[in-house]
């Protein structure tokens, strides 16, 4: 359980980091290391170089703005899960962040793992990639070629695969604020507290005068990539609609049928919670 040999860089500026990545095709970014280091130790990944971004300045922020078109939470690449979770302001601007983050791993891992790293790691069993998709957020990425903004809908390519080029660093994630009249909710079932979910479900509903005008549901661990389903038109059987787009698989912890069953149990529950949340916020 020792990694294969690799070169190690710990640049002090973003430019140096991007240059190092551009020069070394086998290089990988190291953020909190909570996903990457186990892969290295088990020799499931053997990059030729690690570019450790932990010394880069100005990336540890959790910044909230609650007005205007860009209302939301901006999370820098070095903001740890724990930091985001601790931000009461972020929880007010977008309550789903804290709701979901409390299910991400355990405190020790949240102290080190980054929310942006989790997003670009693109695990369909992880909470935050799905949350970003559900909220229709985006990620800002940089490379020697410049900067671009990738909308969440274009971020996830396949299992554990994002659309980022190998030499790109995600510098910031943007989670839009929860609009007025909207509500969110999150529930998941995991084998042990803090484990990756067997099934996780989040909902975002928008209401108008108490009526649901838009309802979307996101799913964890029942597909290869984070999936979000619009169920506005099928509120009588949202899980049925969702299951048509999901692909629950069997693994050593649960059968596919059990996962599908949990989708059926959780989807209406989470939608009801989100509607309740919307109403609560309005009163």
């Amino acid at each position: 359980m020792k990694p294969a040999p690799f070169a190690f860089r710990r640049p002090a500026t973003l430019e140096e980091a991007l240059a190092a990545l551009a020069e070394e095709p086998g290089a990988k970014v190291l953020a909190g290391g909570q996903s990457l280091v186990p892969l290295l130790s088990m020799r499931l990944a053997a990059p030729s170089m690690l570019v450790d971004i932990n010394a880069l300045p100005g990336l540890g922020h959790v910044r909230c703005s609650s007005d205007g078109g860009a209302a939301g939470v901006r999370i820098g690449a070095l903001a740890r899960h724990a930091h985001v979770l601790a931000s009461t302001e972020a929880a007010e601007v977008q309550p789903l962040l804290a709701m979901a983050l409390s299910h991400v791993a355990h405190p020790t891992i949240r102290n080190r793992g980054t929310t942006v790293g989790s997003i670009v790691h693109a695990d369909a069993a992880a909470e935050m990639p799905m949350v970003l998709r559900l909220l229709e957020g985006s990620v800002d990425v940089a490379s020697v070629r410049g900067r671009r903004t990738v909308p969440a809908g274009e971020l996830f390519a396949g299992p554990l695969e994002s659309t980022l080029a190998h030499d790109e660093i995600a510098v910031e994630a943007f989670f839009p604020a929860l609009p007025e009249g909207a509500g969110v909710a999150f529930q998941e079932i995991a084998r042990r507290h803090g484990d990756y979910a067997l099934v996780g479900v989040a909902a975002l509903v928008e209401t108008d005068g108490g009526e649901v005008v838009r309802a979307r549901v996101g799913f964890v661990s029942v597909s290869d990539v984070p999936v979000v389903v619009d169920v506005t038109d099928s509120l009588d059987d949202p899980a049925g609609k969702a299951l048509a787009e999901l692909d629950p698989a069997a693994d050593i912890h649960a059968t596919a049928a059990y996962r599908a069953h949990l989708v059926k149990v959780l989807t209406p529950r989470v939608l009801a919670d989100a509607v309740h949340h919307a109403r609560e916020r309005n009163t």
Binding site: M42, I189, R192, H253
Partner: protein
């Protein structure tokens, strides 16, 4: 004996060190020795294959690699299979592996090559460069495949059967045939493992100047390792020291020995003339240490209208993995300890111990008892359900009564001795448990919960545990001239609190201060005669030996003090290390007694002048009497005729989610009887740890092998050891103390108790929670996950809704 410390909750002296990170484990040793080398092992990626070629040419190019061994490099005893530690007449086809695979591998993880390099990173790089050619063979995975025997693990073991053993008391089949009622059950338990926090590890240093080998190993038997190392490497026993430093948990797996690395590390150290270390990593622990528990059982039981068992016939199949280094201990324990606190009028048990192409099986905390308890308690529950009786009533009907001890079962136990229970009071234990868990009030609670749409269930399980198996343990007690007491016992310690519990015994027996006692365990330099720490035996065996050795030291102290104080021995007492004549001011401290015990020619300090030739002694007599020896010491051994039988009963209340099938523990209660308690806090810690491990075994952990014999969950990511969040925050514990008549302190072992009834008690409670809704649902296989409970619900019809409404009204 005064009973000052014995029986009190003395805080554990080892905790400060452990909690502050000051424990010293094998991996901490020699870390600043620049000459230290590190080993890594190439392990078979296949469950079953013939090795046609091993090419190590690429390895020697790797900078920092010093040597690589394969089977062809081994000679003499090292080229022979590893020892079969516990032979048994019915183990007709016992097989053990080689230190490095010879021609064939029989499980994924079997050691093939051993690389030594300047650090573990380089050693692993080198391992990755060894090229092995295999002819894959079809693997045998699981008990069904082993029984079918379409394929063989070992060509020369027909039917994959290593052993077949049968014991019978009475005529069980005839009794069942004549019984008014009969039931049959099929009961499965899956594989799990000890998974201690610290894996295996060995460090060895060879001193060429003195031709001495020092081995540090994370083992449960340093004397066992010493014997094997000496024999395998062709060394005189006197040239080998084995020391067990702090051990980060064993739970059974470290009693098996020698592991290949326990021999290869010393071999490498001797060959290369530099110290060598092997530290097993987590993946290696999963695929190359040992597992346990997998058994399939077929039960036939005949009983009368009261539920009294007239005949019990159990056949079971035990999966012992690819080899049998530890013999048949696990299935023998199942076959005998299955009986628990009950006395079926006729009992027959037959087992087959089967080869599979999986990791070897050796005892894991509980060692076959969890399976036996599961079988017996599921049977009791089935009888109660069949007769419509309360589950505690059926159990009471079958209990051995307090006036029936010693109770002979007419069987032979794992130590080769008759299975004879020494003491216990099962009816009293059951009464305590019913009160503790609220058994009689449970139906009210169930109804209250049902009204809220919640499902709850209660289960109980009883066990008897043979503890303190022989052959012996010893102790050496030395009172130094400072008055400090140094005690050595040979068995090892892996965190149980031996330093504390043993010091309590010494302090009381000798009459010295607890703080003045220091205990050394598992160091063959200090006590070369010992067996090891397993089968809940340390307190019984070494505790008794330490007590006896302390008595001897005390006897001698009194004799010398009586002379010095010119008093009769009977008038003396020892309190806080001072011997005094009762009711007078005359006294002498034990340090001075120690000075007087050793006639000196040379004084080395003020106190020792008292023992020199012109100060003491009768010039007409030899300074050391003919039947005496110098020094204030006591040495003794304890070797009981047979095991002592502890017992206990657990109950659990669980909630099962009607929608998600999640299982939540609401209350866990334990009544425990291990005779006299040396330190109730330590016993309770053992119970709590055991229960936590039992929760793992019942609800979370299993070894997930696929058909090819690949272990799919060889990491803590997928092998679901429960977190602190999964185990009950409180466990209600009550004790009963029925002393053992077999040892001077009246104690019984407590190390495994917490884990034994888990599978049984959870199966019972989950089934009980489901039964009102699914009357035919039976839990017959453990562990159980929510996904599996969901499947079971699908497989069984509902009770019509009106019936439930009727019931709860």
């Amino acid at each position: 004996m005064t009973t000052k410390l014995f029986g009190t909750k003395v805080p554990r002296v080892e905790d400060q060190r452990f909690l502050r990170g000051q424990g010293r484990y094998v991996d901490d040793l020699l870390t600043d020795d620049p000459r230290l080398l590190h080993a890594a092992v190439l392990r078979s990626p296949h469950a079953h294959a013939r090795i046609t070629d091993i090419d190590v040419a690429d390895v020697l190019d790797v900078e920092g690699v010093l040597a690589v061994w394969t089977y062809d490099d081994l000679v003499d005893a090292m080229a022979q299979p590893l020892p079969l530690l516990i032979p048994h007449p019915t183990l007709t086809h016992g097989r053990t592996q080689y230190a490095l695979a010879k021609d064939e591998v029989n499980y994924m993880g079997e050691a093939i090559a051993f690389v030594v390099a300047v650090d573990r990173y380089v050693a692993e790089d080198a391992v990755a460069r060894i090229r092995v050619s295999y002819d894959q063979l079809p693997p045998v995975v699981g008990i069904a495949a082993a029984r079918a025997a379409d394929r063989l693990v070992h060509d020369d073991v027909p039917g994959n059967v290593g052993a077949r053993m049968e014991q019978e008391n009475g005529d069980a089949r005839a009794a069942i045939a004549d019984a008014p009622h009969t039931l049959r059950l099929e009961l499965d338990v899956e594989r799990s493992a000890c998974t201690p926090m610290e894996g295996r590890g060995t460090v060895a240093r060879w001193d060429p100047d003195t031709s001495r080998l020092t081995v540090w190993s994370s083992t449960q038997t340093s004397t066992g390792v010493r014997g094997c190392v000496a024999a395998k490497l062709g060394l005189d026993l006197a040239k080998v020291d084995v020391i067990t430093p702090d051990v980060g948990g064993g739970f059974g797996v470290k009693i098996n020995h020698p592991w290949p690395e326990e021999l290869l590390v010393p071999l490498a150290a001797m060959t290369l003339g530099r110290p060598v270390k092997f530290t097993e990593d987590r993946r290696e622990h999963f695929i190359s240490s040992a597992h346990e528990r997998a058994q399939v059982h077929h039960v036939e039981v005949g009983f009368d209208d009261d539920g009294r068992v007239l005949g019990l016939n159990v056949e079971f199949w035990h999966d012992h993995g690819a080899y049998t280094p530890y013999g048949l201990i696990v299935p023998i324990i199942t076959s005998t300890q299955l009986l628990g606190p009950y006395k079926p009028a006729n009992y027959r048990v037959v087992f087959e111990s089967l080869y599979t192409n999986t990791v070897i099986v050796t005892p894991y905390r509980g060692a076959g008892r969890p399976q036996g308890c599961f079988v017996m308690e599921r049977t009791m529950d089935a009888i109660a359900a069949y007769l419509g009786k309360d589950r505690t009533e059926v159990r009471s009907t079958n209990f051995i009564q307090p006036d029936e001890f010693p109770y002979e079962h007419g069987l032979v136990f794992q130590d080769g001795r008759p299975l004879t229970y020494d003491s216990g009071d099962y009816p009293a234990s059951l009464e305590k448990l019913k009160t503790l868990v609220g058994w009689d009030e449970f139906e009210d609670f169930r109804a209250e919960m049902a009204a809220q749409g919640r499902r709850v269930g209660i289960g109980l399980a009883c066990y008897v545990e043979g503890t303190g198996v022989g052959p012996y343990e010893g102790a050496h007690v030395h009172i130094e001239t400072s008055g400090k007491v140094k005690v050595a016992t040979g068995l090892t310690t892996q965190g149980q609190g031996h330093q504390t519990a043993f010091a309590q015994i010494v302090a009381d027996t000798l009459g010295v201060r607890f703080e003045d006692v220091e205990i050394t365990t598992g160091d063959t330099r200090k006590m070369p005669y010992a067996v090891g720490t397993f089968a809940s035996r340390a307190a019984v065996m070494s505790g008794s030996a330490i007590h006896l050795a302390s008595l001897r030291a005390r006897e001698k102290a009194l004799r010398i003090a009586a002379e010095a104080l010119e008093a009769a021995e009977d008038d003396l007492e020892i309190v806080d290390g001072v011997v005094s004549v009762r009711g007078t001011d005359a006294s002498i401290d034990l340090g001075t007694v120690a000075v007087l015990s050793n006639p000196l020619r040379y004084a080395f300090d003020e106190a020792s002048k008292a023992a020199t030739q012109f100060s003491v002694g009768d010039p007409g007599k030899p300074p050391v009497a003919e039947d005496d020896e110098p020094g204030l010491e006591g040495k003794d051994f304890y070797s009981p005729e047979r095991s002592t039988f502890a017992n206990g009963m657990h109950a659990v209340i669980v909630e099962t989610d009607p929608d998600t099938a999640e299982i939540t523990i609401l209350k866990y209660a334990v009544v425990h009887d291990c005779g006299h308690l040396i330190n109730p806090m330590i016993v309770e810690g053992q119970i709590q740890g055991g229960v936590a491990q039992g929760v793992g075994g019942a609800l979370y952990e299993r070894m997930e092998y696929d058909e090819a014999g690949q272990l799919l969950n060889a990491s803590f990511m997928d092998f679901l050891m429960p977190y602190v969040t999964e185990v009950p925050t409180t466990i209600d514990i009550d004790h009963l103390e029925t002393p053992s008549p077999l040892n001077p302190l009246g104690i019984k072992g407590a190390g495994e108790a917490g884990v034994i009834p888990s599978a049984a008690v959870f199966a019972a409670a989950i089934e009980d929670a489901e039964r009102p809704y699914k009357p035919t649902l039976a839990i017959t296989a453990m562990p159980i996950s929510p996904s599996e409970l969901f499947d079971l619900r699908l497989a069984h019809a509902d009770v019509p809704a009106e019936a439930i409404a009727e019931e709860t009204r």
